[in-house]
């Protein structure tokens, strides 16, 4: 009886927790963006259609880092963390564009940018008349522009126009297959191109006298390579700030993974919002393509991000195994006993040849005795 109750409780937890989450968010109007305010003031730090959670971070256009501490309905509150100085040792020595292109040319394997759209229905209302178009929205045209602009700048780009509709919870499960398909076709960089759901002024700007929409870089924090992706995103922003100041709206690090566990050079791009003109979004995409070659050729973000992630990953794996053994055996000594037994059983065959071959003075092992003589 108890065991059945336990099984039901586990099932209920996994099944109904997402349901509760769904109901909680259904209370919000579908197009109601989240306003992130600086705590204690009315200063708006960010407006976005992304769902914001405590712990999310946002680096704004002026490189000020904020962390969300509280969410109340469609309003979130953040605290200022620090002014971030974006530096790139490579770029400081020479022009980032030159550095990127030189290193790009020096690579044996060409850099290939894979572009896809998890939410392939997303559209721009002023251009398409709807925010979501079945069978492929205007976001596909923005992807085309980005790919074309990259090709014009000497970077090979593959634009996968696969539809992942309907726009439901399984869209990312489906788009993961497209992303992996792009990697198989040689893509070393993956860009999942979206548009946001905010008032148009949140993204509208002018760069060198041209009306464009800004680009927001989104990084998933439920991702082992998160720090490496953040480093790369910051490198892109730093380069963009030099080429086209104001083009990058900011870097949002939020819950989710967005298929970014597939590599450290994977990003989700929000290019404009649903009430921006698509032409302006395409301009923004073309300017973004202008920036990308400079960071694609670089050796990439090394730092300590990936190594720290490796350590965390291994520690979590060890903790999970230890917990399982404790549950399975009922005590830590018994768990250790079982771990030792597992080691002996699994590696017995592997270690046996070494154990059975004590090396003699002539350098021959015991196993060599069957030889002549």
């Amino acid at each position: 009886m108890v065991s059945r109750l336990l099984a039901c409780a586990v099932a209920a937890m996994l099944l109904f927790a997402p349901v509760r989450a769904a109901r909680a968010h259904e209370e919000l109007p579908a197009e109601s963006p989240c306003h992130v305010l600086l705590e204690g003031t009315d200063e708006v730090v960010l407006v976005t259609g992304l769902v914001v959670h405590p712990g999310d971070e946002y680096l704004n256009a002026r490189n000020q880092l904020y962390r969300v501490v509280r969410v109340d309905g469609s309003t979130a509150y953040a605290v200022f963390v620090e002014d971030v100085e974006l530096t790139s040792p490579r770029a400081s020595r020479r022009s980032p564009r030159l550095a990127g292109l030189l290193e790009l040319a020096a690579r044996r394997r060409p850099v290939v940018v894979g572009i896809y759209h998890t939410h392939s229905d997303e559209s721009y209302v002023p251009t398409e008349g709807t925010a979501s178009r079945r069978g492929g929205g205007g976001i596909l045209e923005v992807g085309d522009t980005l790919a074309r602009a990259l090709e014009e700048r000497g970077v090979r780009a593959i634009h996968d126009r696969t539809l992942h509709e309907p726009h439901d919870a399984a869209a990312y499960r489906r788009s993961r297959r497209t992303a992996v398909g792009l990697v198989r076709r040689g893509a070393t960089v993956l860009l999942d191109v979206h548009r946001d759901t905010t008032p148009p002024e949140a993204y509208r700007t002018e760069v060198a006298g041209t009306a464009v929409t800004q680009v927001m870089l989104v990084v998933g924090r439920q991702n082992p390579a998160r720090d490496a992706v953040v480093s790369w995103a910051r490198e892109i922003k730093q380069t963009a700030d030099r080429f086209h100041p104001g083009l990058i709206r900011g870097i949002f690090v939020g819950r989710g993974s967005y298929n970014q566990d597939l590599g450290s050079r994977t990003l989700l791009l929000e290019i404009g919002a649903h009430r921006n003109h698509r032409d302006e979004a395409e301009e923004g995409a073309a300017l973004f393509a202008d920036v990308l070659p400079a960071v694609l050729g670089a050796g990439g973000p090394e730092g300590t991000g990936a190594l720290r992630a490796l350590l965390v990953f291994l520690l979590l794996a060890a903790a999970a195994v230890a917990l399982y053994l404790y549950v399975a055996t009922g005590s830590w000594p018994a768990a250790a006993d079982r771990a030792r037994q597992f080691w002996r059983t699994e590696f017995r065959d592997l270690l046996r040849p070494l154990a059975l071959r004590p090396r003699g003075r002539d350098g021959r092992g015991a196993g060599d005795r069957s030889g002549p003589g």
Binding site: A22, P224, G300
Partner: protein, 235 residues
């Protein structure tokens, strides 16, 4: 790619395939058979078959879908009893329906965005498929069958939906190869069955002291129970 990231990826892949090997071990496969299946999963990940061309493309990845489906069908075919076969089939059907309804209707609107979910979509659907598979089948094998076939059936339902709605999309079974939600679902299902099964045994008190042979440790008795009765319970 940066060295640190490469090391991280290699470690993750090693742990992933290590766990997969243990899962196949639990399916009463020999070490060699488990290694062959993992090899097929890996190599098969690079091959896609186009099953249906019009009106909607239906592609099947060999490593991500065909090999896992083959293993589950083999498990069903070699199940000890008719009841076990029935439970495995029911687990797959219920799990498939549950996954489809969850993805399509329950997690709708803003809840369809990954940032609102407790787990990543890839893991969430796998975990749910595993739980449903385990509850419906009440064994490790049924959980494995339910987890894998649940995702496959939900993808088939997506294909049918595309055909009916006239969306010129692409339906893919196991398109991400060995790292597809289909394979994750099988691993998570057995993992959950393992943890739930072990917890049930703990709550049930495990083997009574009188069941132990003279000199036998409690651990030994537990392992013996797992080997004999445990296989009937979970296997």
């Amino acid at each position: 790619m940066p060295t640190g990231t490469v090391v991280l990826l290699v470690a993750a892949i090693l742990v992933y395939f290590g766990v997969l090997h243990r899962v196949l071990d639990r399916m009463r496969l020999t070490d060699r058979a488990a290694l062959v299946i993992i090899g097929l999963l890996l190599v098969g990940s690079f091959f896609n078959l186009l099953l249906v061309r019009r009106p909607v493309h239906l592609l099947v990845n060999v490593g991500g879908a065909l090999v896992p489906i083959g293993v589950t069908l083999w498990l069903l075919a070699t199940a000890d009893t008719a009841a076990e076969k029935r439970r495995g089939t029911v687990a797959a059907l219920v799990s498939g329906a549950g996954i489809y309804v969850l993805g399509r209707y329950v997690l709708s609107g803003r809840a369809a965005e990954p940032e609102t979910m407790l787990l990543e979509p890839t893991y969430l659907f796998g975990a749910v498929a595993g739980v449903i598979g385990y509850l419906a089948g009440r064994s490790r094998r049924a959980a494995f069958v339910g987890g894998i076939l649940g995702i496959v059936l939900a993808d088939v339902a997506h294909f049918v939906e595309l055909v009916l709605s006239g969306i010129r999309g692409r339906a893919w079974l196991g398109g991400a190869g060995a790292f597809d939600a289909t394979v994750f679902a099988g691993i998570l299902a057995v993992g959950l069955a393992e943890v739930v099964g072990e917890t049930r045994e703990r709550l049930g008190g495990g083997p009574a002291p009188g069941d132990r042979a003279p000199g036998q440790t409690r651990l030994g008795a537990l392992q013996e129970l797992e080997h004999d009765g445990g296989e009937r319970e979970h296997g």
